[in-house]
């Protein structure tokens, strides 16, 4: 079975978000990691390969540090990697990313495409769905259990108040939700072997893309940080008076009672 996984590089979960002078999200000195939901996807691909045999290819679109997460996936056990660089693209959106990934996927053989259901940074949860749409593939979102048999995928997902079990023919796009599995750490041997595995670097031009095709359809107009939480207010005085004052403030200032 041939599986392609689409991991994205995101900020570390502990990264402190700041804005630069131009009001854009500051990427300087921020630790980058593989999006945690994508780690579930990589892990699931490796488990399926261990069970059914086959090959796992990891594909990612993004900046010069993206090979770090691809190497991590290779060290975990994936077989090969493709990095499509973002050179020359000033602004991107989910349409850009999905267009590029789908174009590349047309040249790859696959029975299954796995991705995280959302990235922890922009959280738009669109890319995998758009890829499925462009390629005309069935898609199951936020999967917590996955079985493959006889050319079909049987996927469980959590729905309000219970679970839903969905069956789709392969090839299909499946996105991972927390709970699907517990991702492994790469072993030391895996890390040493990763550098010997193929990692292809492509540009958008190599895919025959450019210009309007990959121009974003959505533009972020402004980013702003949440205002810092203001200090709590301590009401002094006799308990009875203080309680009365508290009620007054809750009603008149906070307007919650």
């Amino acid at each position: 079975m041939k599986i392609v996984v689409l991991p994205k590089q995101t900020f570390d979960t502990e990264a402190k978000i700041t804005l630069d002078a131009a009001g854009k999200i500051n990427r300087e000195g921020v630790n980058l990691i593989m999006n945690p939901y994508d780690e579930f996807a990589v892990e699931e691909a490796l488990r399926l390969k261990e069970k059914h045999g086959g090959e796992v290819t990891v594909v990612s679109f993004g900046g010069p540090k993206v090979p770090d997460i691809l190497r991590q996936a290779l060290a975990m056990g994936a077989d090969k990697a493709v990095h499509v660089g973002d050179e020359g693209l000033e602004e991107i959106d989910e349409h850009t990313t999905a267009t590029i990934l789908a174009k590349l996927l047309r040249d790859l053989e696959y029975d299954l495409i796995l991705a995280g259901w959302r990235a922890i940074d922009d959280g738009s949860a669109q890319v995998a769905g758009r890829v499925a749409e462009i390629l005309g593939l069935p898609m199951v979102n936020m999967v917590i259990k996955l079985d493959i048999a006889e050319g079909k995928a049987v996927a469980s997902r959590e729905i309000e108040g219970g679970y839903e079990v969905v069956e789709v023919p392969l090839p299909a796009v499946i996105t991972a939700q927390k709970g699907l599995n517990e991702p492994r750490y790469p072993t030391m041997k895996g890390i040493m072997q990763a550098k010997k595995k193929p990692m292809q670097k492509l540009t958008i031009a190599d895919l025959g893309l450019g210009g309007e095709e990959v121009a974003p359809k959505v533009r972020a107009r402004r980013y702003y940080l949440p205002s810092p939480r203001s200090q709590g207010k301590i009401i002094t005085g006799e308990p009875a008076e203080a309680a009365a004052e508290l009620v007054r403030l809750l009603r008149e200032e906070a307007k919650v009672v």
Partner: protein, 379 residues
């Protein structure tokens, strides 16, 4: 940057850091309080190939360089110093004993099991009357047919009772100090070999440090490592690598203490301000960070020299001396910065301080490190 790490070293460090912070750090508190051997940590390290990081793949190791191993000891000790020393003794003293001095057959029998983590290794040099002066050791081994008959006892042995193989130094010819010392590979279930008292220590509570008793223990002649009379040379040569490992352990402890102190100083408000705004605290933090950086450079340099096959005995001693003194200073300052809270078990810094102390003592006290360094200077 003088020590630019490779992509593999960075991935290895990040992987070990995640493992140690996610799994070992939360367990470290309980291991310290219950004086419990961290068997599950050893198991996890074996699964990930961390029990033989610098051992070639042909012997079941990961085939990484020594620096990678050193970085792993640092990251693991940052989470749990007991696990750190168990790994350090196992790798630099037991695995390397076989790798550097073992015959093909001894490597087949033992190195593969050690490097894969199936077996845990220990190193038994110290005795009651032979600490800083190991040439004074008096455990004897007398050859009888195909067996050495061993009598005597060893003291303060890391992983005592938990390890499967003990690289043990014994006297094979009486009265000749270091020239009469040989090295034997002693299996845990050797007849006549038992584990005696486990010490109650100030820190490193996860590492059982104890006595080994040899009462007419029968060790096969085939388990002699190197030639008779070469034991002292083997012991000292292994300690050169071992000391870099202890430097890395100290570095990890110091880093952990610094991280807590820095975070605390930014949050703790006294006199209406975070205490990090007081210059007295800032200067302490600045000194701590500077020493840790300097220690890291010394430790990584020694590891690099070893990787390049260059002499590193003096540099290993310098790294061990400076990094372990740094750990003691930094952990003491961290307790100070946390004030009364630092003295209590609610925060981890009192444990770091207790764990740091022994790094100045074992694998050669810091006085002995100075002797080694001076000997090189005056050569």
């Amino acid at each position: 940057m003088p020590y630019q790490l490779t992509d593999e070293q960075i991935m290895m460090r990040d992987t070990v850091r995640r493992l140690a912070q996610n799994e070992f750090a939360p367990r470290a508190v309980e291991i310290d309080r219950q004086h419990r051997f961290p068997r599950e940590n050893i198991q996890r390290m074996a699964e990930l190939g961390l029990m033989g990081i610098p051992i070639p793949e042909e012997w079941g190791g990961a085939g990484c360089d020594f620096l990678s191993y050193i970085i792993a000891v640092e990251e693991i000790s940052r989470a749990c110093a007991s696990t750190g020393v168990i790994l350090a003794v196992h790798t630099s003293l037991a695995c390397f004993a076989l790798l550097q001095f073992g015959t093909q057959e001894q490597k087949e029998r033992y190195l593969r099991r050690l490097a894969s983590g199936e077996w845990l290794g220990a190193y038994a040099l110290t005795e009651a009357n032979a600490g800083s002066d190991p040439a004074n050791l008096s455990t004897t081994a007398r050859l009888e047919g195909d067996y050495y008959i061993v009598n005597g006892s060893k003291l303060f042995i890391t992983s005592a009772g938990e390890a499967d193989l003990y690289v043990t130094f014994v006297r094979t010819s009486p009265g000749s100090r270091h020239k009469g010392i040989s090295c034997l590979l002693v299996e845990r279930d050797t007849p006549g070999f038992t584990v005696g008292k486990i010490e109650e220590k100030m820190g490193l509570h996860g590492d059982p440090t104890g006595e080994l008793i040899f009462d007419n223990a029968r060790v096969p002649r085939a388990n002699l490592l190197g030639a008779e009379g070469e034991g002292f040379k083997i012991a000292m040569s292994l300690l050169d690598g071992g000391r870099i490992g202890i430097g890395a352990q100290a570095l990890g402890i110091a880093q952990a203490a610094f991280d807590v102190a820095l975070d605390y100083a930014k949050k703790r408000v006294q006199f209406g301000r975070p205490i990090a705004e007081f210059q007295a605290i800032q200067f302490m933090l600045a000194d701590m960070a500077t020493r840790i950086d300097a220690a890291r450079l010394l430790v990584y340099r020694a590891a690099r020299l070893k990787d390049m096959g260059l002499p590193h005995s003096k540099e290993a001693s310098m790294a061990k001396l400076f990094a372990t003194d740094t750990a003691m200073q930094v952990t003491t300052d961290a307790v100070q910065i946390l004030g009364g809270y630092g003295y209590c078990k609610e925060y981890p810094v009192e444990r770091y301080m207790r764990d740091a102390k022994v790094t100045q003592i074992y694998e050669g006290t810091n006085q002995i490190q100075r002797l080694v360094i001076a000997r090189h200077l005056l050569k």
